[in-house]
């Protein structure tokens, strides 16, 4: 992602311990922001600098902000990169002009864009690739089926790049979407402030008054039993079901997802064309109605096409070349272990800590030459 955002990998700056620390700081900064976001009073009053657990987070976040700033300053000074014609993401930010004033982005905004891009563009992709690998090596029939698809479509691993062939890998896409359903990289709730006039949700007979924060938790809705059959089972086949025949008349939202909700996904399927549902009982429209790993609307993730590109290429090439198997490990995170013991978390899930982004561990995988 250093390559994509700043036109160079962070590593080529010299693999200094500082650069390795950046990943650690980034996680701490996210945790600090997420925590303070729940109670901004701690920041406004300055208390966060004095209460022990918050103080450490506050300090590590400063380190991360400084790291981000160094990347941005270095990139801004590197004009040779622009003249070379290489267009990283920062190229567009540095050359943006306000249509009215003709001025570029203010320095503070450039700095924060850099910080945000490192988190939003790197860490989320990393979590999603890890999660996809985890679910695949843990569910060997899925991995075998995926390997079959990738190896029959591509004759050489160097052919694996964006194009019609990669598009044709429908099971690959299903494996990725199913991993994002079970382990969304931003699993929490992104709060929205209701503006004057309030917000009506007729389907729930609900009026949310102005001035209130409201949102939907991605992880919770991705595991909603009324819409997802066996929500804690990883099964990419559920993504291969076709839309119900009724859907011809339905309007599509701009994100391409069915607008109308389906209320009886479970009872309905048995009467439908058996050929459509021979692989999984999942109702297509119900599944798509709850799927929002990139959020929706005009605040939806901009990096979606980039993420699909990165993950598809990374997973497809690994699977094409190597066989993989999981080394079973108990989660190292004591908090996660305690939650599993108490039944709050499902054993065998890809466990993350939700700090806006996800703090994840593993999977530990063994490789062998493809058989």
């Amino acid at each position: 992602m250093g390559d994509l955002v700043f036109g160079k990998s962070f590593g080529t700056l010299g693999a200094t311990p500082e650069n390795r620390d950046a990943i650690f700081w980034l996680g701490r900064a996210a945790r600090r922001n997420y925590t303070i976001g729940a109670m901004p009073f701690l920041h406004r009053s300055g208390l966060e600098k004095w209460i022990p657990p918050f103080r450490g987070l506050w300090f590590d976040r400063l380190q991360y902000l400084a790291f981000g700033k160094r990347q941005v300053v270095e990139r801004s000074n590197n004009t040779s990169l622009d003249s070379s014609g290489r267009k990283d993401i920062f190229h567009y930010l540095l050359n943006a002009k306000d249509p009215e004033t003709g001025e570029g982005l203010p320095k503070g905004e450039l700095w924060m864009e850099g910080n945000t891009l490192i988190v939003a563009g790197s860490d989320t992709s990393s979590t999603t690739i890890s999660a996809t690998l985890y679910h695949l090596v843990r569910n060997t029939p899925c991995l075998e089926r995926l390997a079959g698809e990738i190896r029959s479509i591509f004759d050489d691993s160097e052919d694996i790049r964006t194009g019609p062939k990669l598009q044709a890998c429908t099971y690959l896409r299903a494996c990725i979407d199913e991993a994002m359903r079970m382990s969304p990289a931003v699993p929490g709730l992104l709060p929205r402030l209701v503006l004057p006039g309030g917000l009506d949700i007729p389907a729930l007979n609900l009026h949310v008054p102005a001035g209130v924060d409201v949102g939907t938790c991605t992880y919770a809705i991705h595991h909603h039993e009324d819409y997802v059959v066996e929500p804690f089972i990883y099964n990419p086949s559920r993504w291969l079901q076709r839309p119900s025949t009724k859907s011809h008349t339905r309007q599509r939202s701009d994100s391409g997802v069915e607008l109308q909700q389906v209320t009886q996904p479970v009872e309905d399927h048995k009467t439908k064309d058996v050929h459509l549902n021979r692989e999984h009982e999942q109702e297509h429209d119900a599944l798509h109605s709850i799927f929002a790993p990139f959020s929706l609307g005009n605040r939806a993730c901009l990096g979606k096409p980039l993420v699909y590109m990165e993950i598809s290429i990374a997973i497809a090439r690994l699977v094409w070349k190597y066989d993989m198997r999981l080394v079973d490990m108990v989660p190292a995170d004591p908090g996660v272990r305690a939650d599993v013991r108490r039944g709050r978390r499902t054993a065998g899930d890809y466990h993350v800590r939700d700090w806006f982004l996800s703090a994840n561990e593993g999977p530990v995988v063994q490789f062998a030459e493809r058989g």
Binding site: G2, L4, N19, R31, N33, Y34, T35, G37, A38, M39, P40, Y92, L93, D98, P106, S126, I129, S130, L133, S157, R161, P187, G188, L189, P191, L193, L195, D200, I201, A203, L204, P209, D213, V214, G215, T216, C217, A220, H224, S295, L296, N298, R299, L302, M309, I313, A314, R317, L318, K321, Y322, R344, V352, P363, V364, V365, Q366, F367, A368, E369
Partner: protein, 206 residues
Amino acid sequence: MFDIVFQAVENAAGSLATSYIALAAPSLVLVFLLTASLHRLYFHPLSKHPGPLFARLTPLPDLYHAYRGDKHIHFFHLHNKYGPVVRLAPNSLSINDPAALRAIYGHGANVQKSETFYHAFRAHPAAISTLLATEKAHHARKRRIMGQAFSDGAMRDLEQYVLKNVRLWETEVGRRVKVAKEEGKSWTSGVDMGKWCNYLVFGEWV
């Protein structure tokens, strides 16, 4: 302001007034807490929505779960217990329903990003990124710029760098497979792919 108070206290020192203040201050705090609690439980616009008592009274449970990093798990269980609409903090609702997903996040929704939450991410008040912009017009301006960086054409330019990093990844795996083979084993020792995925996206091989 404080001078006056101090002076007043000093003047009254040794007199009955001190004990009055000593009694009045905690009582005032108590009265304030009681009124605030009553308001949040019975008169607040969200008072009719269910949720844990402590969450309806203070943002502290939300703070605790944010710090612990299990908000997603917590919300999942809250909705199982209380239904589709839950009051997760005095002034916040979580709604677990696809209709709400569209109504809240879809185009044209009468909302903006929460200032309470997203302002906490800013390094200083003017350090605003596209992700963090709460004001709608400001976000629209920034989004237009950022949109260019993620256009189809831009993606094509970027693919070579993704490929470069994935090839590095494969080379590292390949090296381990070779080592295992030389030792007469078909499987490599375990590789922590969580770490490797970080290396992949950060382009950092150390």
